[in-house]
């Protein structure tokens, strides 16, 4: 067992666990007891991989970014999760969880969403399987992400505005948890990131691990070595990074770099750089690192990227950070926006602003020249066009 993976009690080092009210205990326990057996079933694996191939469009390409490589003086590969159906890595997890929900006999699906990518991915798989779908989304995010709201509605999902607190992702998550408490028997909650009570962080990481599984094979084909020197991914809750890191965790010579959103700057008071600003705490069912006041109240984060403005990180990330296995860094709004435009101009790929954070960190790295670098391009920038337009004045 890898020291970076979840242990039998649901912990990564001191992080993880299941901090849930008794009302959720039976649901979470059922998942804890059954998720590994179910996802290891042959019929599950067959259906999962068949859908990933023919519905999602996997394997996603590992693209050698020639002009980017020339610019930075390293061999830079982009893992193209942006080419997945629905435009981001989120669908890998929702495909897996909808199959799990079916096998658990659940009839109704709930989910939370920030930018809407996970909501769209959940609505998509519910349409695919004909299951009722309710997506909680902060009222402010609903206004900011109208096209994704429309997509969800077209697919038959009900989008419920989370009115409490700051009316963003954190509150949408609270509302989804409340829904689950009130509908314990027939409902499965598809959490969109590697957060939540055990087994969610492990469950989601396993479904996203397809990203690094493919990367290893593709890199071997392209370079003769399955291990790159660096792997980079952006981190909000951290699901694309968890998937991108998964099969490299025990390859200690592969450097893992997780890029958080610094917003207007780590010390500006408007930031989502959790490892820089947070400390140990409990939110949404697990012990992790959390942006909070001295009194233990959760601080509302800020990032120009709606997918990264989460006040915590998944417990596995907290452990990778604490143990030193991963390097956790941050990038400001401005740095990310410039990186997004740079990729667009040099490679003809408009990245999601989330992914632009990972790309931006290249500016801060120095290379020896022949190093291989893989960056998870977690999503495409269509959903962010408004933001790009406003920022650059196009």
């Amino acid at each position: 067992m890898s020291k970076y993976q979840v242990n039998e009690k649901g912990y990564y080092g001191p992080f993880g666990g299941a901090y849930i009210p008794e009302m959720l205990y039976p649901n979470v326990e059922e998942l804890q007891q059954r998720y590994l057996d179910i996802i290891h079933e042959e019929s599950f694996q067959q259906e999962f991989h068949s859908l990933l191939k023919d519905y999602v469009g996997r394997p996603s390409p590992l693209y050698y970014a020639k002009r980017f490589s020339e610019k930075y003086g390293a061999h830079i590969f982009l893992k193209r999760e942006d080419l997945n159906h629905t435009g981001a890595h989120k669908i890998n997890n929702t495909i897996g969880q909808i199959l799990l929900a079916e096998r658990l006999g659940k009839k109704r699906i709930i989910a939370e969403t920030g930018a809407g990518q996970h909501g769209v991915a959940t609505a998509t798989v519910c349409a695919l399987k004909g299951l009722e779908c309710v997506v909680y989304m902060g009222e402010i995010d609903i206004q900011r992400q109208a096209p994704n709201v429309a997509r969800m509605k077209m697919m038959g999902a009900t989008v419920v505005a989370a009115q409490s607190g700051s009316k963003t992702l954190k509150d949408a998550t609270n509302e989804a948890l409340r829904d689950w408490i009130n509908n314990p028997v027939d409902t499965h909650y598809i959490i969109g990131s590697v957060v939540g009570p055990h087994p969610y962080p492990d469950l989601v990481a396993r479904f996203q691990s397809i990203i690094s599984e493919e990367t290893k094979k593709q890199l071997l084909e392209k370079t003769g070595n399955s291990k790159p020197d660096y792997v980079l991914a952006c981190v909000g809750g951290g699901s694309n990074a968890a998937g991108m890191f998964y099969h490299f965790l025990d390859d200690e010579d592969v450097k893992l770099i997780a890029v958080e959103a610094a917003g207007h700057g780590v010390d500006s008071g408007e930031s989502a750089a959790t490892t820089a600003l947070g400390k140990d705490g409990v939110l949404h069912g697990s012990r992790s690192i959390l942006m909070q006041t001295a009194d233990g109240q959760v601080i509302e984060p800020y990032s120009i990227s709606a997918g990264l403005d989460y006040p915590g990180i998944g417990p596995q990330h907290a452990w990778l950070f604490k143990s030193g296995r991963g390097q956790y860094v941050s990038i400001t709004d401005d740095e990310a926006m410039q990186a997004g435009l740079r990729l667009t101009k040099l490679e003809g790929i408009i990245p999601a602003i989330e992914s632009s954070h990972a790309l931006a960190y290249l500016e801060k790295m120095t290379f020896k020249g022949d190093e291989n670098v893989v960056i998870c391009l977690s999503g495409r920038g269509d959903k962010d066009l408004d933001n790009y337009m406003k920022y650059f004045g196009f």
């Binding site: 009210p21 008794e22 205990y25 939110l283 949404h284």
Partner: protein, 254 residues
């Protein structure tokens, strides 16, 4: 000791939940005093948290306002220094894990003991973590940890909860967040009866969904007491709420 808190009391005990620091920062003790005078048998004082997932909108709103008012655990314990000079009935604190972890669990138990709080209800504190890490500390300071039981809680787990408890067991009327109305139908009476028939060592107190004398009576047909939260927190939003507490309690107990 807390084992005997309810021993000599009559049945149909009424507990009231409200949020510390709501409606105003310094209202906590005045409300407690008025509740005791009006006939409440014990109290649950909530310490606010920014992300209270087990609560419905009314109690969540009261927490938001309490936080805006400036309430926190340090201040609450400061205010509660007056508690035992003004209130004699049992008092429990209710809130979520994270503020307690930041305050420090041992420090929290110590502060509870110093001000005369009898026990705490922390819905998202896992049973395994209490047992492995905190039980000894709680016992050392004489603070009871109250566990919740829902209609979905298994018999084995209920017995384990009973074993770990030394004050009362908080029976949720249904699997729900706070503020839903209790509808006592066949399934809930069967559930209440099942629990009653288990003859647990700790008394049962039913909460969630109790809002008037009818539901209070129905719940206390099966349990030693019942807890009213949302309906009382709504009263606190009214003007002159202190003067209305007496009739609120009288109505429930009628």
């Amino acid at each position: 000791m807390n084992e005997n808190l309810f021993k000599d009391k009559q049945d149909r005990l009424l507990s009231i939940y409200y949020t510390a620091g709501y409606p105003t920062l310094d209202s906590t003790i005045n409300i407690a005093e008025e509740l005791e005078k009006s006939g409440a048998d014990f109290l649950e004082i909530g310490f606010p948290y920014s992300d209270p997932v087990a609560d419905g909108p009314v109690i969540q709103n009261s927490s938001e306002i309490a936080l805006k008012n400036g309430m926190n655990l340090t201040l609450l314990f400061e205010q509660l220094k007056e508690l035992r000079s003004r209130v004699t009935i049992p008092v429990f604190l209710m809130g979520y894990c994270n503020p307690v972890l930041q305050y420090g669990v041992e420090n929290f138990c110590k502060s509870c003991a110093e001000v005369g709080v009898n026990g705490v209800i922390i819905p998202d504190l896992p049973m395994y973590e209490y047992e492995d890490l905190y039980q000894e500390t709680f016992l050392q300071y004489g603070i009871s940890n109250i566990f919740l039981v829902t209609p979905q809680t298994s018999t084995d787990r209920i017995h384990k909860i009973d074993k770990l408890s030394n004050s009362f067991i908080y029976l949720l009327s249904s699997n729900a967040t706070t503020g839903k109305n209790l509808e006592v139908g066949e399934s809930s009476t069967a559930y209440f009866q099942r629990l009653k028939d288990m003859n647990l060592n700790n008394p049962l107190v039913i909460g969630f969904g109790i809002s008037n004398s009818k539901t209070f009576r129905q719940a206390t047909d099966y349990a030693k007491g019942a807890i009213i939260g949302t309906a009382f927190v709504k009263l606190l939003a009214e003007e002159d709420y202190l003067s209305k507490i007496k009739s609120f309690i009288a109505d429930i107990k009628s």
